[in-house]
């Protein structure tokens, strides 16, 4: 199964939803699309607007490969579960986002070999990217350093506020 997600954002992302629906028409494999605020209604793929995080985790676990909008949360979810990931950034020029930060993170992770980026999604470019992503190996990663630094910062402030009393 191929899982496609476009995030919780209030703007539509029809470019990705439509191309993945066209791909669903061309292949045997099941495609499930979380279409969010997109206006295009898929004809060949299974689809829904939004769901709970728990459900999204289940779907991610079940999927063979993930195609998403290069949102940080969706990338984290896929990579933490070690899933092959294709990202299609929302672009400002199409009114899909306020700026092009998704393009930046997509390109950075692509150059690190963690995801495969597609800028202009068509059934063909998506199919090639999916085949390429399957070959990538993503090792699990964690937040140890950041967690430690926050703890230290909180300790410091706690100490200062006790001193002030």
């Amino acid at each position: 199964m191929i899982l496609v997600t476009v995030g919780a954002y209030y703007r539509s992302f029809d470019r990705l939803v439509k191309s993945m629906d066209d791909l669903a028409n061309a292949i045997e494999e099941q495609v499930i699309i979380q279409r969010g605020a997109s206006t295009y209604e898929p004809l060949y793929a299974d689809h829904f607007q939004f769901t709970t995080f728990t459900h999204m985790q289940e779907l991610t676990r079940l999927a063979r490969v993930i195609v998403n909008h290069a949102g940080a949360g969706s990338i984290i979810l896929a990579l933490k579960l070690g899933k092959p990931l294709v990202v299609v950034p929302r672009l400002e020029k199409y009114g899909e986002a306020l700026d092009d930060h998704q393009r930046q993170i997509a390109k950075t992770l692509d150059s690190q070999g963690k995801v495969v980026v597609v800028m202009e999604p068509t059934p063909e470019t998506l199919r090639d990217a999916i085949d390429k992503a399957i070959l990538q190996n993503s090792e699990p990663i964690g937040a140890t350093q950041l967690v430690h630094s926050i703890k230290e910062q909180l300790k410091k402030w706690q100490y200062i506020s006790r001193q002030a009393r």
């Binding site: 995030g7 919780a8 949360g73 984290i76 998704q102 993170i105 937040a143 967690v147 926050i150």
Partner: protein, 149 residues
């Protein structure tokens, strides 16, 4: 300490969930948007839900009043945010109310700061980014202390 964690309901919330261990031993509560993840959030801690404020200026004003009420009722010692614009009223009011604030720019930001990041940079007590290459783009106050993944 009592810590207010404020974030929007999609990826920013997912980022926060990666670092919950950092708040062990403290009392936390959430402020986030209505959506599909209310149950998930309230399983972790108490939470306030508000409507998305990024869509209009009047929503932003309304949210500022709501933020003021929440901060007066809860009296947190620290506000933590990983974005997005929902952080703005809380970090600005937090500054006025002498609450310590940590703003951690989203992991989604690799090359430049978000609008929220630029707006809170001058006033946040701690301002961290999640990619080292971002340090060149920010002022000297920005620090890199690792990332959510």
């Amino acid at each position: 300490m009592k810590i207010c964690i404020v974030c929007s309901h999609g990826g920013h919330l997912t980022e926060v969930l990666q670092i919950l261990d950092a708040f062990e031993g403290h009392e936390i509560f959430f402020v986030t948007y209505y959506g599909t993840r209310e149950t998930e959030v309230t399983k972790i801690a108490r939470a306030y839900f508000i409507k998305i404020i990024g869509v209009s200026f009047s929503r932003m004003i309304a949210a500022t009043f709501m933020a003021f009420r929440i901060l007066v009722i809860e009296k947190p010692q620290v506000i933590v945010s990983l974005g997005a614009e929902i952080a703005l009223p809380f970090i600005y009011l937090g500054k006025l109310m002498r609450i310590r604030t940590i703003y951690i720019e989203s992991w989604a930001r690799v090359e430049d700061l978000s609008l929220t990041g630029r707006l809170v940079y001058p006033i946040a007590d701690a301002f961290w980014v999640q990619w080292p290459q971002m340090l060149e783009k920010c002022g000297p106050k920005a620090k890199f202390h690792g990332s959510v993944i």
